[in-house]
């Protein structure tokens, strides 16, 4: 075949493959256009999950009749005019590609009325065949209708999933956009049912609650922080994050917007997960919403045609900013789950019986100690019920505790009993506490051990981190680090703390986290400053919730506990152990 340029319609169809994948992507593009046009109310209607018909109605600025043909032409946009603009995109759209792409793969009708009093006109494009502009009837704003999606492309159409799946994706996309624009009202109709109704809100927290649902939104934490990535280059974040207990296995409960645009960014998601580390099981994702505002010069949104991916100029700085902001919100919150008890909430499930049986069997005989059954019983719904018991109190741990048999439940709790009741220990909090105390004792005896490196390790760093290094040097030496600045943007590591290497924690990661902290302080009261860093070290090195522990590891951990004073609170002040008194358990079983 001789080389020929592709016919324009084919070019658009190919481009459409990138922008228009399914009804949800059509809706996203159309809703974003409406927002760009200044709409305050947007209505989306779906038929057949969007496979048969999509309609998006807005009350925005509209398109004048003489510009309609251009609007549906490829690479025509009213939003940017120059390369300079492209660097500072403030609108969702800028490629001028969406309407043309959609028009190339469906029957597209754009009806628009620019302002009150003027008349409406409309244009149709049928799989790339543009028809002429006609007068039409319509209110101020724009109405876009897409039917017969992929009608002339059977292969693409085959890729569409079932109606509920496609509709579900539309809901997801719409909710995501809506999170970033609480001031705009959104409604979604499926066939003739209203399935989403998000009124305009002044308080963004109310929009988040409406989208995340009551359970996750109840006592969610507010994340709010502001900083500068460079002089005159601010970054800020606002959001609502659900408590750790709400974390889900599915990742889609966590949503981000960047300058109002729904994005997926692995770096930022990682930063959030990191902040929750130790509080949720690995593999789970926290639920919540964060809106990041950043100087447009600090980000490139022109990476992906659907614009869901972005490229930060300083990804590491954005990462540590988000991480710190979320961490700070978690730190100020009291994360011990409350244990409210209402008399009527007496557990009625068989799980409780099972729990009782298992316990008595467990205490029955030494060789027959059935970890499996008991662990199972504790893993099941009974465990949740048990934590809801009243009068649960922080426990003075029984001494000597190491001689008791513990078992691990839910990969997170160590459970035993003493004369007074059932004792539940938080493994991460306990290990963290134990290590913190040992590290502190060790630093009193002299600097922590330091492993010299064969050759210096050169690591990139932010200007801020390098700047703080000098101030931090004396303390770092006590911790076993030998680090120097290697220019304005790098650190040179000559030696690292043995302790961190043994615990498989990357010393540089910890170092940068500390240097980048909002509340960084290396000069203040010596002991308090030291304690803060040791706390970070202990937290990173401690076993996590979700780490399965062998019997030997449990025994070792508890043995260490005996040697530690004040072991009943982790360094963050959260309790490490709780006791449910026997009399409370007896009362619940109707024996009291």
């Amino acid at each position: 075949m001789p080389i020929r340029p592709l016919p324009p319609n084919l070019v658009n169809q190919i481009a459409a493959g990138e922008v228009v994948e399914r009804p949800a992507s059509v809706v996203k593009e159309l809703v974003e256009n409406a927002l760009d046009a200044g709409a305050t109310r947007i209505e989306v209607r779906l038929e057949g999950g969007g496979r048969d018909r999509i309609e998006v109605l807005d009350d925005g600025g509209g398109i004048p009749a003489e510009e309609l043909a251009l609007a549906v032409a490829p690479h025509a946009t009213s939003k940017i005019a120059s390369m300079e603009d492209l660097l500072q995109v403030g609108t969702y759209g800028f490629r001028g590609e969406a309407l043309a792409s959609i028009g190339s793969v469906s029957r597209l009708t754009v009806t628009s009325c620019p302002r009150r009093g003027s008349s409406a006109s409309s244009i149709q494009v049928d799989h790339g065949r543009q028809e002429s502009v006609r007068p039409a009837a319509g209110n101020p704003g724009t109405r876009i209708e897409v039917t017969n999606l992929f009608g002339e492309m059977p292969a693409r159409r085959k890729f569409l999933r079932s109606e509920p799946t496609e509709a579900g994706r539309v809901v997801e996309a719409l909710e995501w956009i809506a999170l970033g624009r609480p001031g705009v009202a959104f409604t979604l109709w499926q066939e003739s049912r209203k399935t989403l109704d998000l009124p305009a809100e002044n308080d963004p927290a109310r929009r988040v609650a409406a989208v995340l649902g009551a359970e996750a939104a109840a006592d969610a934490l507010t994340v709010e922080a502001e900083a500068a990535l460079a002089p005159g280059s601010p970054i800020s974040v606002w959001g609502r994050m659900a408590r750790p207990a709400q974390a889900k296995v599915a990742a889609k409960g966590l949503r981000l917007t960047l300058n109002g645009r729904a994005i997926i960014d692995r770096g930022v998601l990682h930063a959030i997960r990191e902040a929750y580390r130790g509080l949720i099981e690995p593999g789970r994702t926290p639920v919540g919403f964060l809106a990041i505002q950043i100087d447009p010069r600090e980000v490139d949104v022109n990476v992906h045609p659907a614009k869901s991916e972005v490229r930060f100029r300083q990804p590491a700085a954005v990462h540590s900013f988000v991480h710190r902001a979320v961490k700070a919100a978690l730190r100020t919150a009291n994360l011990m789950p409350e244990m409210p008890i209402t008399e009527t909430a007496a557990p009625s499930s068989g799980g409780f019986m099972h729990f009782g049986t298992a316990t008595s069997r467990a205490t029955g005989s030494a060789p027959g100690f059935d970890y499996g059954t008991l662990a199972q019983a504790l893993d099941g719904p009974a465990a949740t019920a048990a934590t809801a018991l009243a009068h649960v109190q922080p426990a003075e741990l029984p001494m000597p505790i190491a001689s008791r048999r513990f078992l691990q439940a839910g990969r997170m709790w160590l459970v035993t009993s003493d004369e007074q009741g059932l004792v539940i220990v938080d493994q991460h909090a306990l290990h963290e506490r134990v290590m913190f105390e040992r590290l502190r004792a060790r630093t009193l005896a002299g600097a922590l051990e330091s492993q010299a490196l064969l050759s210096p390790r050169i690591e990139p760093a932010t200007a801020l981190e390098v700047e703080r290094l000098e101030e931090a040097r004396p303390l770092l030496e006590r911790l076993g680090f030998d680090v120097r600045a290697g220019g304005p943007r790098s650190l040179v590591v000559h030696a690292e703390p043995v302790f961190l290497i043994e615990r498989r924690v990357d010393p540089v990661e910890l170092l940068r986290e500390w240097l980048g902290r909002d509340d960084f302080d290396a000069a203040g009261d010596g002991e308090a400053v030291l304690a803060k860093v040791l706390d970070m070290m202990a937290c990173k090195a401690a076993v996590k919730a979700g780490d399965a522990l062998s019997e030997r590891e449990i025994a070792e951990l508890l043995q260490q506990l005996d040697a530690i004073e004040r072991a009943t609170n982790c360094p963050h002040g959260r309790p490490t152990a709780m006791r449910i008194p026997w009399r409370e358990i007896e009362r619940r079983f109707g024996r009291g």
Partner: protein, 370 residues
């Protein structure tokens, strides 16, 4: 496909192939083992995104040639459970039926065509090394390779062949090991590569017959190892780690002020004992050398302290005290197969070098206070 094989031989081969399979495969085919029966032989193939192996199974009787592609983990479990002397395989429509004494399993498989067919360009063997030598070099180097791939520790083993001399080098940034051995034949010129640790470990297991010869060929960005001869040969092809290995020659000290030769077992036992009462927070053991004695002590404020002494003969130089992570020392001493080892030192803050002849050089940075 219809075959009959020796159960024990099969079990070993399946286990081996399973090691190559990706732990979290993106495509189902990469979590599978492919079985090919033809010309009276059975071959197992497995791969992850970087490594592919081909393991021949001796002792089979092929009644009907054919192919199958089945999940590795399940296949290994099933074969591991089989009893009796022989196991029978039969494939009908991607389903593999396994028959053994009083057992029958049918594993649902995939279309064998989904298994990535190995690119098999014509290659020229660069060198051949006895399996025994290669294994020795691998075992004595991989332990020091970093498990994580950071920029300063490559997460792989550096392999260098110059004429008939072969060196493997590994480091995690805190210690470095260089092992040497001889090839049995080689082309002119050099071979240089950074081989992923996983491939090295697999190769160690593939090369279990000491008398086999291992042929090494370089392909574009990959190394191919052929263990044994002819159709019964096992094969491993691995992608190489790109990048430059840290300039390790520079960190091997060129000179020393102190030198001593010790009995390996005695030194190993002493360091191990001194390390018993150390903790994660107080890890190091202090080794004090003088003309007649080595005193090794380890302690931690909250557990206690140990002091072990062993006699020395022929210590050269001024007395010295140097602290090492005891794990780093014992790990290497366990792998050394000679009875004596030499330790060279310069100063408490300079690396110590353990040597066994020309064949084993282990550089360890001391610990201490920054």
């Amino acid at each position: 496909m219809k075959i009959l094989c020796d159960r024990a031989v099969l079990a070993t081969a399946v286990q081996l192939a399973q090691q190559a399979v990706a732990t979290r495969a993106a495509v189902p085919a990469l979590s599978c083992i492919k079985l090919t029966a033809k010309d009276g032989r059975l071959t197992l193939q497995a791969a992850d995104k970087d490594i592919a192996v081909e393991v021949p199974v001796a002792a089979v009787e092929v009644k009907e040639a054919g192919e199958a592609l089945v999940p590795a983990k399940k296949l290994a479990e099933v074969v591991g459970e089989c009893e009796g002397a022989t196991v029978g395989f039969e494939v009908v429509k991607h389903t593999l039926t396994i028959k053994a004494e009083r057992m029958k399993f049918s594993i649902l498989g995939f279309d064998p065509k989904e298994f990535p067919s190995p690119k098999d360009p014509v290659t020229k063997t660069e060198f051949t090394v006895p399996a025994e030598t290669l294994r020795r070099l691998i075992v004595r180097s991989v332990f020091a390779a970093a498990t994580e791939n950071t920029r300063f520790a490559m997460g792989g083993v550096y392999m260098e062949r110059k004429a008939k001399r072969l060196r493997l080098v590994a480091t995690d940034g805190r210690r470095l090991v260089v092992t040497r051995g001889d090839c049995s034949s080689a082309t002119d010129g050099d071979t240089v590569a950074i081989v992923p640790t996983k491939a090295m470990n697999l190769l160690n297991r593939l090369a279990s017959q000491p008398d086999d010869a291992v042929q090494v060929a370089k392909l574009e960005g990959r190394l191919a190892f052929t263990v044994g001869e002819g159709p019964e040969a096992a094969k491993l092809v691995t992608n190489l780690i790109e990048g430059t290995f840290p300039p390790f020659e520079d960190v091997i000290p060129k000179e020393h002020d102190r030198k001593v030769t010790c009995d390996v077992q005695q030194l190993l036992a002493s360091v191990r004992r001194a390390g018993i009462l150390t903790t994660e927070q107080s890890k190091g053991v202090k080794m004090g050398f003088n003309a007649t004695e080595l005193k090794i002590s380890g302690s931690s404020p909250d557990v206690g302290e140990a002091e072990i002494s062993m006699p020395l003969t022929g210590f050269q130089g001024q007395p010295i005290e140097i602290i090492f992570n005891p794990g780093y020392v014992t790990e290497a001493l366990r792998l050394v197969d000679s009875s004596e080892i030499t330790l060279e030192m310069k100063a408490p803050n300079k690396p110590g070098v353990f040597r066994v002849g020309q064949e084993f050089t282990y550089v360890v940075m001391p610990t201490g206070q920054a």
